[in-house]
Amino acid sequence: MAREPETTASDVLRGTLDLLVLKTLALEPMHGWGISQRIEQFSKSILDVNQGSLYPALQRLEQKGWIDSEWRASDNNRRAKYYALTAKGRKALGVEVESWRRYVSAVEAILATS
């Protein structure tokens, strides 16, 4: 089924999803839906998280030991799985942000010529 035409947001690039998730979790522990909402909010609705790929990404990060998860009661008492950044994850976030910036400036430099 086709996506609704009114949304103009572009999908988050798969490689950058991990970075955005880490950054979101750096603020506070959050469940999956919350993470996708936050990314949309922060990006002022420019970025739309493909929600089907969010959960595999969370699993990947958890296996790397960058984030941790636990089941907790959310607002009106529903159980939700909350993810939180680990110390290792925090360190990794620094490295990832650094390499992202290098990548962006490199791409910018190329785009700036001519």
């Binding site: 909402q37 929600q51 089907g52 958890e62 296996q63 941790d68």
Partner: protein, 886 residues
Amino acid sequence: MRLARLRLLARAVLQPRIAERELEDEIRFHIEKQTELYVRQGHSRHEAFRRARIDFGGVESAKEEHRDGRGTRSLGDTIGDVRYALRTLWRDRGLAVAGILTLALGVGATTAVFSAVNAVMLRELPFKESARLVSVWEENPDRGWYKNVVAPANYIDWREQASGFAGMAAYTDYPTTVTLTGYGEPTLLQATNVSGNFLDVLGVRPRLGRGFEDADDFDGEQRPVMISSRLWRSILRSDPNVIGKSLALGGRKPWQVVGVLPDGFDFPLPGTDVWLPMLWGKDYRGSISFRRAHWMRVVARLKPGVDGASANATLQTVVKRLETQYPKTNTRMGAGITPLREWIVGDTRTPLLVLLTAAAVLLLIACANVGNLLLVHALSRSRDVALRFALGATRARVARQALTESLVLSGAGGLAGFGLGWLGSRALLQMQPTGMLPVSEIGIDYRVLGFAVIVTTLSGLLFGLAPTLATTRQAPAEALNAGGRTFTGSGARRWGRVLVMAEVALAVMLTIGAGLLMRSYEQLSRVPPGFDPNGVLTVAINLPGARYDTSTKIIGFYRTLIERAEALPGVERAAAARELPATQTSWSANFAVAGRPPSEQSADIIYREIIGDYHRVMRVPVVAGRTFTEADAGEGVGVALINDVLAKQYFPNEDPIGQRIAPDRVPDSTTIWRTVVGVVTSEHQASLAQPARPEVFLPMPQNFTRRMTLVVRARDGIPPTSLAAPMRATVRSLDSLLAITSIRPMTEVYRDAMSRQRFTSVLILVFALAGTALALVGVFGVLAQLVQSRRRELGIRIALGAQRSQVRMFVVRYGMRLVAVGVAAGAVISIWSTKMIATLLFGVAATDWVTYVAVALTIGTTGVLAAVVPAWRASSANPAQTLQAE
């Protein structure tokens, strides 16, 4: 691997359902939250939920990706494979059961028999450097002696003069018992007499105390005794201070425990509990009987650096010297050595090797059968496999599936085989004729178990996997179009036919072997034993020398016992003899006739003391003269009975009655002459397979012995076993301290004489039946497969008007061809293979054509039976249905 990942992996593996449920919960939560958001934005609940689902994308694909991420994919596949294998095997239950039974039979039989062979023939003897131990024996061609018992004086001379040996010890291996009193009921213990250096030569250290010393060979003030760990633990309750204690074992002097032997030490015979010293008199060495009576076994240790041949050469030098030194006793008296292990295995070797071969052949049949079954299975699934390829499965994936299936099968079969092997090795030990397997326990040989499982698994893989892979070479579309009608597996099917023919051939070979053994057993049981074992009870007694120290007491005891036995209701007549016929042990001596020159050669005549009318009790007919009477009881003129073999040999043209005979080759002034008063027909003394030997009977009152066996004939219609209790009571009323050696009906003694032949032939027969059953299952499998694959063709034939009987004949003929080729091949192999059992046969040739024809006909006919069901199935196919099913 990182800890976190490990933890997640562990959870995913151990609790796959929990991981799955958590994922579902998480996704549901997400969708609910998104739905709420849309509701707040003003959508209807239904619309909101729809949008939320669309946003999320494919839930299932997200789940699948998540599952991949868990890293348990291959494990999950394996579990899936196993489940799938179990499912296919369950769907094909008949085949699975046949396969597992086949494996269990093959693996179980091989494991049990090889474990027994290992325990008897291959195990390390529990002695120091046991490879350097040899058994030393005597031989005498004149008397037909080979590997015979040794005279003590000869043993002492060898020991002192043969330089190739580091030590030479003597022991007795004929049944000896002592009665232990003072510990509850009188207990009969199995005993052996051994020389002082016995343990030193074997290189065995007692667990407690000491072994005998050379001084113990001669009777002294103290009589030392060594006991088994078994006796020490049971009756002596593991007494740590047992060394130095006195044991009441009979005898004038006390017995003192000097040593307890290590656990499991049971040389020379399993079950030995007491080792006694020789107790020779100081003056024995010079007496002629010390060199004339042969009764000891000798074990020797080769000197370091000396091989068997050189040691034997030093022995031969001594033997020659003794021959010239003592012509009266040692003329033509030779000696030889045999490695101890070979000696212990003895004549069990051939039957065990035959059993082992039979088990190996059964394993081969099992391998072929498993291969064949899996082949049939694989062929019937080729369409299924093609479909899986079409759906994108890789070759490796399909191969893995087939592999899993055959591994599941061999796992189950191997387990069942282990159980069968365990039971089998115990059953072998339990049911073996006494003394056939000279070990007290048989451990499962895990190497053989492993070997058998691996061999059957490999053959299963080879024959089951190969055709599966063969089908993969075909384009899936082609296989699917073929609709299971034709296979590229025609090569594999040819393999299947070869396997079945090989199975039949091997089964024929086994069955011919079993048939020959059964026929020779039958021949053996037809041999007239020379006596009537029915209705006779035997009571073996060995009077202790301490309390029965004079001939008057001994003869008095047996006389009274026979009188009282005859007074019992139900007893027709009783008598006693030193030994029963058809048992292994016998005592023999030389022979001379008064008025004839001494014979050039030694003779080997059996002498047996009897009391009462033994021949009448055993229903041995008297040919001439009379049997012994009360008048013969006195010390007056010596009398004797002879059997007809002796009469024919020594008095072919004379009347033996009235002849005077003596047990010496060259009679002298000390010779005791006896007059022959009667001739009786012959009994088979040692075994039924050997002809009756010349024998002399002496009235016991003229030549007494403490060890006698009563034979009690029951009145007509009274079972002899019902006399056992009154006989026990009668013995007790005469001497309450006397332990009876054994009470058995004579029929049992007689049956035991054939027990080895029966044991071997029944076991081989069981293997042969199992092998034949497997081969028939194979024939059935191939035919069922044939019918299955040609259903369409058969349906068309019937539709075109073929008679159903023609269709049936087509299948049966196909089966008959397989069986016929197998039977012919098996018969040809048997001409060669039965040479192995030639020495076990009695009264039947290894190429006995009756057996060959009977086996060929039997297996041929049963082969037809295996074809019946597939043939019927083929002919009952409804053509319309068969053709529609495509």
